[in-house]
């Protein structure tokens, strides 16, 4: 028997196509007052795609959850914090929180905590491009076009290529 455990090869789907599928999942549940809030940095790219695909007129909110992370005590402040910008009143609004990857759920928790410091939204929904499993909190996505079970030693990364197109890569950690 082969002692070395073989890892199945993961086929990475087209990220731009996933954005179109994600927009299709959100569209039927869109309300007139719905606004998108992207989490820096991958979530902001996805939110910008969705904003165009859904033809939304209102502005996108951007948040950086660095000031709300639960690993600040262990890892310190993130070296490149971006300013959060919520250019609308969140009071009684339906917010769709957008991120690229849903993993432990800790980023989502931090983002929800931050949003409540801007007011009391009527509803927060979660839209992600990929759900890679291994949740550590009771959080699940309302809209997700791709579910995949990835080993914790792999890091699923969304990046923007030179032409501005979104693409997936898989980084393996020892």
């Amino acid at each position: 028997m082969n002692a070395e455990k073989k890892r199945p090869t993961v086929v990475l789907p087209d990220a731009e196509l996933l954005c179109v599928q994600l927009a299709g999942l959100i569209r039927p549940r869109l309300r007139p007052e719905t606004v998108l809030v992207g989490i820096h940095s991958g979530g902001v790219w996805v939110a910008q795609r969705l904003h165009a695909l859904l033809g939304l007129g209102n502005e996108i909110g951007l948040i950086d959850v660095s000031f709300y992370r639960d690993d600040y005590g262990a890892r310190g402040l993130h070296p490149r914090v971006q300013p959060s910008s919520i250019p609308f009143d969140v009071e009684d609004r339906t917010l769709v929180l957008v991120d690229d990857v849903l993993y432990t759920g800790r980023t989502t928790r931090a983002a929800i905590n931050e949003l409540f410091d801007y007011g009391r939204p009527a509803m927060i929904q979660l839209a992600v491009l990929a759900d890679r499993g291994h949740r550590q909190l009771p959080i699940c996505a309302d809209f997700c076009p791709w579910r995949v079970d990835l080993d914790p030693s792999s890091e699923l990364v969304l990046s923007q290529n030179d032409n501005g197109g979104l693409q997936w890569s898989l980084d393996e950690h020892a």
Binding site: S84, E114, D117, Y118
Partner: protein
Amino acid sequence: MRNPQLNANGALTHLLSIEGLPREVITHILDTASSFLKVSHREVKKVPLLRGKSVFNVFFENSTRTRTTFEIAAKRLSADVINLDVTRSSTAKGETLLDTVDNLVAMHADMFVVRHAASGAPHLIADHLRRLGREDVHVVNAGDGRHAHPTQGLLDMYTIRHYKQEFTNLVVAIVGDILHSRVARSDIHALTTLGAAEVRAVGPQTLLPTAIEKMGVRVCHDLRSAIRDCDVVIMLRLQNERMNGALLPSAREYFRCYGLTPAVLALARPDAIVMHPGPMNRGVEIDSDVADGPQAVILPQVTFGIAVRMAVMGILAGN
């Protein structure tokens, strides 16, 4: 010798002086401050970063304004803030500085914000904590003697960057009592580190330290020629107690020679900004028409100061 402000991993663990801080560290603090600036505009003006941490404001010298801005900054980071007026309590009873520190460490302090009349006091505390093996306790210098006032220097840089974006082409004049000013020293170190084109130190001979040109500044005694083509004018407070000595003849004569009036400011670039660390003496170093005029950015400095102090405490407590 290791930089006393950095830990074994090279991360900022104390803020004692701008001198010796790498340019990247200064830029990182300013970048982080811009994210904190928006927190003060929200419904809830607080982030949970320092929740459960205790910040002790230990002021061995009076300062309501600086202490208050540190207190606001710490509270907006959700820290518990304890203000100690040590001049009226322990020190008056004969306790030494380091005994005071040991007592506060025994109360589980996480950060000290220290102001002291003696230059080097915050460094002494940081060194003491290192020898105790307590590198998890952080020190912020809130002004020590004539040495340094690094958070004021950083908020001045934040203000300049906010209005002027880049430092490389800037001509900056620092005017007044540079001899006694820790603000001037911190500003000079920051400006030279960030690459300002020219820094002019302006004041009467009696209020300029000897050999100040070694800090990389041009010395000027005539305000009118010094202010010509400046992008930034930083006015320093003339402390009233200086009037009693032999350094100056009178406040009125000082104003005539070194007071910033609209006529003098007109010699600077038309888009020049005027800064002042406060508290101002109107009619001594600055004319009311300038202080309240369109080029003054003195109140924005105060607002930026909160965000800069939040950034400093947020970065230190995480390292």
